[in-house]
Each structure stands twice: as structure tokens, then as C-alpha cells.
Symmetry: D2
Subunit: 172 residues, 4 copies
């Protein structure tokens, strides 16, 4: 049978992989709220959820989610090449492919998201703290960066939207 | 006279521009120390200074320094095209060219520096707080990102070096 | 008067700057057609123009256009710091800030545009050949990369759209 | 046993993976020669080989090599999640994680390598043509981008070196 890309299948697979790894859209939205509520005091969780959903619709994001989580899962099963296995299993600080893949997600709403991604990745609020708990035996070397990057991209989207609202009000 | 690149001239110009804008190598090194001292308790300011100096030797970094600070200076003089002038003069949050140029600096020592750059850019310790003080009348829209990115790249370099030291000791 | 971003003003300024530097949307669309017609034989110039227009609506692209062309103009006027002036005026091969800014444009439609940008920048078809003609006295160190990056981003957009069309037909 | 990174092991594993997938340093060096010989007429294969070797010493490059080839191998074995499996196995044009990982390699010697990477990826000279031959049954979705990116980074390194030689001669 000839290959032909099925976008709906890719989208569903990315959603399923996130869910199977214990990530809820609400938890990513909480990170976005953490990042943006100081700039937009009236920001609701509904708006953050809507923004995360919009990020998850992007093909670039789905590809990153599928690839990164796949590598986490293979590391949990011990199926990677030994040198790579060790680095991914131990979230090696000098291994930066997880950051590179996260960058692809952040860029979807422009470079303004870069600092939010870095900030949240260090602060590890909410679900990110759990993902970085090494005592669970789970491996989330890629997933924590992916979740942080999605939250950062959703924050950028909110910033663009809020500006559009202001300009509409001002009749610009 | 035919053009021919003069690397020493470029290096000197970048150093001078940083100095003219009030930035000392020590102040960038303090940011690096802030970022890395928790991971390497014995880390000295001398090591941080040496690392910042090594980052400043890189042509990619010098080009970013010259270009970014030039745009800050032109904005202070009011010489940019009106729409660009407004965005740079007001450090517009939806203007991300400063982050893009900073990314070029961070990448010099690999993607592991991305999160340090984002973190420090949000926390604004040390000299970054001063650079973000809008009451001075000075414009540092690019400079604060550049300084943070140099500190992050210097941090990555330290991480690589410390690993090499450990492996040498272990006789690997 | 308090600052407040005016998106329409920024968009108009970016369009005007491109026009003032002699660039027509049609010329960028021709580059997109050059890149994509072998994959989509029925691709029309109208579709390419529509895609370029969509790229130009993006704030990230407008910011890159304004900043890059501004630097070209200042170099033509001899207003840059001497070391930077020399590099920009001579399109120095070891100066890579133009590529970094172009990358910000390409990323707007995902990383799949990277190779198209690199390819067209080397091949220099259509308007890119003129922009690289050093005998004119004009300086387009940033503009040629910007134009190539817009064409590459528009190509990525077409690739995504064509896939959507196929899937719709197949009833996926 | 406590984890501790072993850089020599990582370096050796990356070299072995390239060799096991049929890639010789000389073949990457030929790509670098293809890219740079028009600018430096006296450029020898020995210089290109030395430059490729220097690129392969970089940890960022080794990490990208290990991760990318690992994904190719898993796709050959059919071990990836179905949606990801299909995209990697078919070198799906709308899947851009291979380009993102390649970008991490190119950046090691600065953004000037971006266009060389894109150009060679489209032209597919030398070994790249073989890697893109879909009739072999082998999967090189990541490897072809990785090889092109290493050749592009080695080209950037040569450009920097040649400049240093010129300046030394001129007594700058």
C-alpha cells in the first residue's frame, strides 16, 4: 500500500502519547497561566487551555511530541544504543537534543517565547516538578522540555492575542 | 582600497562597544557565577571571567554584540524607521529580534545554554536589573539579551570543562 | 504620550520598506514558484502570491524585515560603527547575523523550510541575482536573505496546504 | 552503580554508528570539498578531512548523530509508534525534526553554515544521493540531514581558518 500522510492520525497519536505519559492539557495550561497571569491579571484558565489546544494543533509541535516522547519510552525500555541510553536515562546535562527539539516547538509562535521556555524549565512549577522527580523510575528527559515549550508557545500566543484585543478596543 | 576583513579590529570594536555601554567582563562573569555556582560549589569568579573571555573571542558573538548594540544606540539617537524606532525604544514584548540574535550567541556552546539564557533573562540578577531600568533614559533592548546570552554561553562552557576535569581525574 | 504598539503601523512599515528597496510581492512569489513547482505541477503564481502575502502578515516576519532592511540602509549611508559598517557593506561571508534573522522568518512555518532557504540563497534565481549584484552600489546584505527566507516560508505554507487538500479529497 | 558521563564512550559510539551506517569521514569531506573548493581553489581533501574530524569531536554533534541515527535504525526495525513510524520510514516532507537536529550540528560553527546545509541537502551530491535512494530499503531520514550538516559545519570551519591564514600573511 502506498504511503500517504494522515494528519488526523498524527494529531491523535501526539495527543494519545501525551495522555499516556500522564500529561493533561490542563496541566500545561497551568504553566501558561503561571507565566502570563502577572502580565494579564484577568487571564483565565479557559483562555490558557484554549491557547495550549491551538499549539497542539500545529504539525511541528505534534512531530516534536511524538519524537521526544518516543525516545523517553525507548530509554525506559532500555532499547537505545548504550551511550545514548545512558545519557537519556540520566537526563545528562551535556545532552542538548531535548532542548533543540523544544526549540522547534517554541518557534511556532516566534522567538519571544524563548525566555519563557528557559525560565519555566529552571523554575519547574506544577507538573514540571513531578516530571523531574528522578525517584519515580520514569524517564521524562524529553517530555519536561516538550511540556515547558508548549506552555511557552501558548504564552506567546496569548501575548499576541491580548495585543489584538487592545488594538481592537482602541479602534486601531 | 579593497575590502579585507580584519578580525582583530572586529574583536576590539565589540569589546569597546560593550565597555562604552557600561558593561564590564566581571559583571557578565557574575551572572555566570549566579547560574553555575549551585552546580559547582568551588566555582571561582576567575573561572567565570576566563569563560566569559573565551565566549567573547568567538566571531559569532562579536558580530551579535556589534549588531545588537548598534541598534540600541541608533534607537537612543532616534535614527530608526518610526515603527521600528518605537518598538526598540520601548523594548516591545512582541518584538523578538533581540531574542533571535541572542540565540546565535547561546548556540556557540550548544543548545544546553538555552534554558540558562531564558532563566537569567527573566530573573534579571546583577547588571541585568540595571539594564532593564527604564527610568535611566538609556535603551538596552538588545544589550540585556546579549549580556544574558554571553553569560549563558559561558555557563555551558564551564559545564563542558568541569566534565573534562572529572573524567581526567577518573582516568577515563 | 504613552507608548502602545500599533500592529497596523508595523505591518504597513514593513510593506513600505520592501517596496522602497525595490521588492515586489510577485518577485518573492516567483522564488516560491521556482522552489515548489516541481513538487506541485499545477501550482499557479496566484497561489504563490497568496502564500507570500500570508507570510508577510506574521509579526515575526515584519520585525525581521524592518530590522534587516534598516541595517542595509544605514550601511548605505555609512552610519554604522566602522567595523560593523565594513562587514555589512561588503556582505562579509563570516558575518552571520543576516542568516540568523532569516532563520526567524523561515521558522514561522516550521523547520521544513530550512533547506529551501539555504538552496535558494545559493542558487540566487530571479530577484536574488539582482540583489547580489555588487556593481549597483546598493547594499542588500540583509535583504537577500530576508527575501529568500520569505520565499522559503511561503513554500512551507504551500506544502502544508497541498497536504490538507489531498486529505480532504481522500476524505481523511 | 552511579551514572557518570563518559565522553570517550559517547565519541566512540557516534563514530561507530556513522561507520555502521556506511558513512566514511572521506565521504563527508568530499561534500565539504564540493561546497568550498570554488571559494578556495587550492583546498585539499586532507584539509576537508581534518575539518570534518574537528566537527566530529564536538559533543553537540555526537549527540545529534547518536539520536538521529538511532531513530533511523528503530524505523528500519519498525519499532516506532505507528504514526511516527510511517513518517520517518517514508521521509515525510512535512516532518521536520531531522532538520531541527541538523540545525544543532550546523550551529556549532555559527549561522554562516545554514545556507551550505540547505544547498547540499537539495543538490544531494556524492554520498547524499545514495542516502536518498529509496530503493535500497534502508532508512536514512535523519542520516542524510546529519551528514549534510556535518559537511556544512566543516565548511564554516574552513572559512574561518582560511581567513586566519590570510590575516597572518598580511601581518594583521
Amino acid at each position: 500500500m502506498e504511503y500517504s500522510l494522515n494528519s488526523k492520525k498524527v494529531a491523535a497519536a501526539a495527543r494519545k502519547m501525551l495522555a499516556d505519559r500522564g500529561i493533561k492539557v490542563e496541566q500545561i495550561a497551568e504553566l501558561t497561566h503561571f507565566l502570563q497571569s502577572k502580565y494579564y491579571p484577568g487571564l483565565t484558565m479557559e483562555q490558557c487551555i484554549e491557547s495550549v489546544e491551538s499549539v497542539l494543533v500545529k504539525r511541528e509541535v505534534q512531530n516534536a511530541v511524538l519524537t521526544g516522547i518516543q525516545l523517553d519510552i525507548l530509554a525506559e525500555k532500555g532499547l537505545l544504543e548504550p551511550a545514548l541510553q545512558e545519557m537519556v536515562a540520566n537526563d545528562e546535562g551535556l545532552y542538548g537534543v531535548d532542548e533543540i527539539i523544544a526549540l522547534g516547538i517554541v518557534n511556532v509562535y516566534g522567538s519571544i517565547g524563548l525566555t519563557n521556555y528557559g525560565y519555566i524549565d529552571k523554575m519547574k512549577p506544577g507538573i514540571l516538578e513531578h516530571l523531574n522527580d528522578k525517584s519515580t523510575g520514569e524517564i521524562h528527559t524529553f517530555l519536561d522540555d516538550i511540556v515547558g515549550a508548549i506552555a511557552a508557545a501558548a504564552s506567546s500566543r496569548i501575548a499576541h492575542r491580548k495585543q489584538a484585543e487592545v488594538e481592537e478596543k482602541e479602534g486601531k
